[in-house]
Structure formats: structure tokens, C-alpha cells
Subunit: 341 residues, 2 copies
């Protein structure tokens, strides 16, 4: 049986209401609600009882208006990125036990990053965690001038001083993918890249250097792509138009790889018999059995932990020089890679 709220709508109970009912001062109620020391056991019980009876809940906005600390971490994420959802799960899991609340702000169709961060700032977040931000480095630097900022999955090489970076070693991931393909016997490996997307430049570079290291510098072939299925499909079409096909394709991410798979399927190009395909992210998509994509997995719990950790460290006064935290990826071999025909 849910406790019937004493006050139906509109007015919610306040500290003063509880105080009146328990016959104590508001200050004491505040102490009890925060579980701070300075209240006797009996009174404490009486106050809690009163609070329960009238259905009191502390008002976080008023609370953090007064206390200088807000213990609020603002997180900006993209609604259409499953990868961000996964990161958010991890972020909640780390932040709440550490005593920090999360304020979310989504980037969506008619709602750009500026709008998203503005909302977070207006909410008095103490620090910002930006998932794959696309904003210009100058904007990030500006934000970092106001509060600690952590960029996840977007590299910023000195262009945005003060911004903490947490990212996967994208170049290393691309290298693992190429190594795997070469070990299978592939030599003609095309990379459909991510354009200006976060991480794309590193993956491109990792692909290039890995190819060179295997003596395949002259076989480097990069097609412009992007981070959606459509980008992958476009890239695959370009490959089909300009025969001969490579024997393997390294796509920017899983969504892109899915577009590639799809296009090949419709063109009756068999994967992995004729062409091997590798994605990046190890998203849910990749794990679906009938996609069953070989991919480079990111260590999401670790990324989340680091992101929250860096933000909190900066808040608690740590003054380490800005520094990148780089997390190693790992290849997940599934069914879309095999030796060349």
C-alpha cells in the first residue's frame, strides 16, 4: 500500500513542513535528511517518521543552490549512437556509487551540441563528460576554461588545452584488424573510413602504418565513408563499380560494416568466402548471430570508469597536467573473416 501523500498536487512538502510535524527546527531536519552527525537517535527516528508520513523528498535544485558543490556530472550523448548508450550504462554504474549524480543532455536532430552543453551548464554541472563530441576544438577549449571537461572517444592533440581525453587506442585497433587479415593471407585490404568522425583519423593512420609494416604500402586503399550504414553501403558500391574487388574490407565501425555486408549480400558477393569484412566497436549489432561480425571491441566499462574518474579527480583538486588516457581495444573474431579465396 503506497503511503497516501498528504498534499495532493502543486505544493510539495518542504523541510519546514517536516520540521513543524516533528516539532524541531528545519536545520535539524536537514541534518537528518543528509544523514549528517549532530542529531540524537530518538529525534532522528521521529524526524524520519514525520518525513515519511507527509511524503517529503529533498529538492535537489534548492539543495545544490545552497551548497557550493553540486556533485552533478553533465553528460552529453548522441541519441542515435548505441555505443553511447553502452557508455552511459557504465557511467551511471561508476558515478552514482561515487556520490555523483548524472545530468543527461542529448544531441538529436534539431538539437545541436551547443544547445546540449548550454543546458548542462545552466543546470550547474560541476564537470562535463562529452561522448564523441564533434564541436570545434575552440569551443571545447572555451568550455574547459569554465569547468573540467572530459572528451570521450574524441582525440584532441593539444588543440584544446585543458580538456581531458579518454579514448580507445584506435590506431592499435586498426592495426590488430590488419594483422588478423594479413595472418589469414590477405594482401588487398581496403579501408572505408569515418571521414571527420571521432577516432577516424587514428584508425586511418593505424591502417596505413600496419599495411606498411607488412610491406603492403602500395596496396593501401582508402575510401571515404562515415559512421552510418548508408556510408558503408556507398563505399561498398564504389568497390563493386571498380573491379577487381579487394579480398578484405576494414570498415570504420559496425554500422558502416553492416552497410557493407548488406550491399555485398544484395550483389551476391559472399562474405567471408569472396571478401572478409571487419567492423569496429563490438556493438550489439555485431553480436547478432546472423550478422556475426568480426570486429574490434572497445573496453566500455573501462572507458566509463576513466571518464568519470578523471572528471572527479579534477573536481577534487587534482592538478595533474592534462593527459590522455588510452584504453587498449581487442579483436573479436567472428564469422565475417576467413582466408582469401
Amino acid at each position: 500500500m503506497p503511503p497516501t501523500p498528504a498534499v495532493p498536487h502543486g505544493k510539495r512538502p518542504t523541510l519546514a513542513d517536516v520540521a513543524a510535524r516533528a516539532g524541531v527546527s528545519t536545520a535539524l531536519v536537514s541534518i537528518v535528511m543528509r544523514d549528517a552527525k549532530g542529531a540524537g537517535a530518538a529525534t532522528r527516528e521521529r524526524v524520519l517518521e514525520a518525513a515519511r508520513e507527509i511524503g517529503y523528498r529533498p529538492d535537489t535544485r534548492a539543495r545544490l543552490l545552497r551548497s557550493h558543490r553540486s556533485h552533478l556530472l553533465g553528460v552529453q550523448f548522441g541519441l542515435q549512437h548505441p555505443f553511447h548508450s553502452d557508455l552511459l550504462e557504465g557511467i551511471y554504474a561508476v558515478a552514482e556509487p561515487a556520490g555523483y549524480q548524472i545530468a543527461l543532455s542529448a544531441v538529436a536532430a534539431g538539437r545541436g551540441e551547443q544547445r546540449a552543453t548550454d543546458a548542462l551548464l545552466a543546470d550547474r554541472c560541476e564537470a562535463l563528460i562529452l561522448l564523441g563530441p564533434q564541436a570545434p576544438a575552440a569551443r571545447l577549449a572555451e568550455l574547459a576554461g569554465q569547468l573540467p571537461v572530459v572528451s570521450v572517444a574524441r582525440r584532441l592533440r593539444g588543440t584544446a588545452p585543458g580538456v581531458e581525453v579518454v579514448r580507445t587506442a584506435d590506431d592499435e585497433g586498426a592495426r590488430q584488424a590488419v594483422d588478423h587479415l594479413v595472418a589469414l593471407g590477405h594482401r588487398d585490404i581496403t579501408h572505408i573510413d569515418g571521414g571527420r568522425a571521432p577516432g577516424a583519423a587514428d584508425r586511418r593512420r593505424g591502417y596505413r602504418t600496419a599495411m606498411s609494416r607488412h610491406g603492403l604500402a602500395d596496396r593501401v586503399h582508402i575510401l571515404p565513408g562515415g559512421l552510418t550504414e548508408e556510408d558503408g553501403a556507398t563505399g561498398a558500391h564504389a568497390l563493386l563499380d571498380a573491379t577487381p574487388l579487394p579480398t578484405a574490407v576494414l570498415a570504420f565501425n559496425d554500422r558502416c560494416a553492416t552497410g557493407v555486408l548488406d550491399t555485398f549480400l544484395r550483389a551476391r558477393v559472399s562474405v567471408p568466402d569472396q571478401v572478409s569484412v571487419i567492423g569496429f566497436d563490438d556493438s550489439h549489432l555485431a553480436r547478432l548471430a546472423h550478422i556475426n561480425l568480426t570486429t574490434v571491441g572497445q573496453d566500455i566499462p573501462r572507458l566509463a570508469e576513466l571518464a568519470v574518474g578523471r572528471a572527479i579527480a579534477r573536481l577534487e583538486g587534482e592538478r595533474t597536467p592534462t593527459d590522455e588516457a588510452v584504453v587498449a581495444p581487442h579483436l573479436v573474431i567472428r564469422g565475417t573473416t576467413a582466408g582469401p579465396a
Copy 2:
């Protein structure tokens, strides 16, 4: 060139700072910032200039602490539901132009619905929009006693008085799917259901009545399922074990249907040649060309518009009796349905 913030960290500029710089009272700055009337053109400009110079931003928490209205809508959503992401896009698009802000609270692995709604209440939201809530009706009724509550995609027949419901006509959607299959010549149509998931009961019922209406009551076959790929795969395995196969499968949603497709693919059961498959939601997944799933589409923009609209209507004092808003779905025919072999 971003404006250099006068105050580096910690202290953010307040109304008082702007007032001092512009040589006016804080009240007047407040007026200007809210774009309210009561300030002269020249002073208005001077105040805005001062605000810009020191990088002032209004503090929403303090703002809504004072004003009784908060114009804040709390939205609870599931991180792992692409359908919720789509709804959120629509909700932002409707709410912000209407002058309402959105506070998000996610349901994730270690963070149940209670936690999610508690956070929203503590943030002083004026109304709650719950996407596919799973909480017991009693809990929803309790919430509805405190503030307007809109449940999206979860039907509540009188069990939670005061809760507004916005939903798709799930039974109608299932009917459309069955009609389509029957028109193609199918008679053995199995439904893999959604168990206790929101909407599942209606889809089940729609399937049943549609079958009856076509004189196929004795062919009704319902397998227990759920809302993930895994549930679909489990159902499909059950079908494979108990031959003969039906000629068509209606899955609870697109993810479930994807699991079915996958299992069939691995068992070398050809879709749609041997078995037709229909999903529900018309998610991004269904649109992927190599999934290319025939599915029942929900009118997401309309659902979002209604959800926000009902919440706002209740807030602005409308006292219409609680009532369901039901949105018609529409069949999207793609490549996973054809006539039976």
C-alpha cells in the same frame, strides 16, 4: 574567437555581477534576461552587453527555485531501446518550442525505474513522461497522485487512475499484419509474443481476433517470447524442433524478429520462401537493407506530440477525464513476406 571568461573556474558570474557592471539593479537584469517587458531599449542593450562580456548564464536551478513553475518535463527511458531514442527525438522537438525543458533519467542495468523516477521528482519536474514503464500499476498511481503522469506505450486499463496513456493501437497493428499474411495465402501463422512487455497483451489479442475473423481460430499458435533478439531466437528454435514449420511468423517486435531471422538463416530455412516473418516498430534495424523486414510501423512523431501535449494540457489546468490517446499503426511491407511455398 570565443569570449574569454572573466572568471576562470569555480565562481560563475551571477545576476549581481552583471548588474554591477551595467550599473543597474539585479531585478532589471532579470527582466532583460527573461526578455520580459519593463526595460528601456538602451538599457536592455547595455545589460546584454555586460552579460556577454563576463560570460553570464542564468542558473536554471535558482531560477526555478523561485518561480513556482519549473517548465520541466521529466522523461524516463530505457537506454537499450532504440525505440525510446526515437521517441526522445520527437519529444525534444515538441517540448522545447513549447517552452518546456526536458530532464532525462535513464533506466539501465543497475538503475531501476524507482531510482529513475526518484531522480526526476527530486529535480522538481512538473510532469512525468514514462516510456514503456514496467513498474506496477500501484506505483504509477502513487506517482499520479503527486503530479501529472503520462505513460507511453504501456496500457493501463483503469488500474492506475490518473495516469494518462498514449499508445499505439497494438491490436490493430497485429490485425494488419495477420490480414497481410492471410491475403498472401498464409493460414499457419505463429505469434512469438512479448510476454509481459508493454503492448504485448494487445498484440496477442489482436493476433487472436484477426485469426478468428479469418476462420483460423483453430490455427492460433502462440509461443512465449520477449523483446530481445535472444527471445526471438529461442522461439524460432522451438518452432524448428516441433516440425512442421508454420508458413509465417509474427514476432513481438523488430529485435525479436531479427532473432527469428537469424535462427532461420543458420538453420537454412529460407525467408520469405519457406517462412514469412513480420516484426513490429519499424526501427532502424528493420530498415537495414539486408534485414529488410516487413514490420508494423508506429507513428513516433505523433506519439511524442501527444505525450508532451497531454502532459502540458494537464499542467495548464485542463481537467478532462483521464483518457487514452491511441495512435494508428501502419504496415510497412518489405522483403520478409511473400506467398507460402
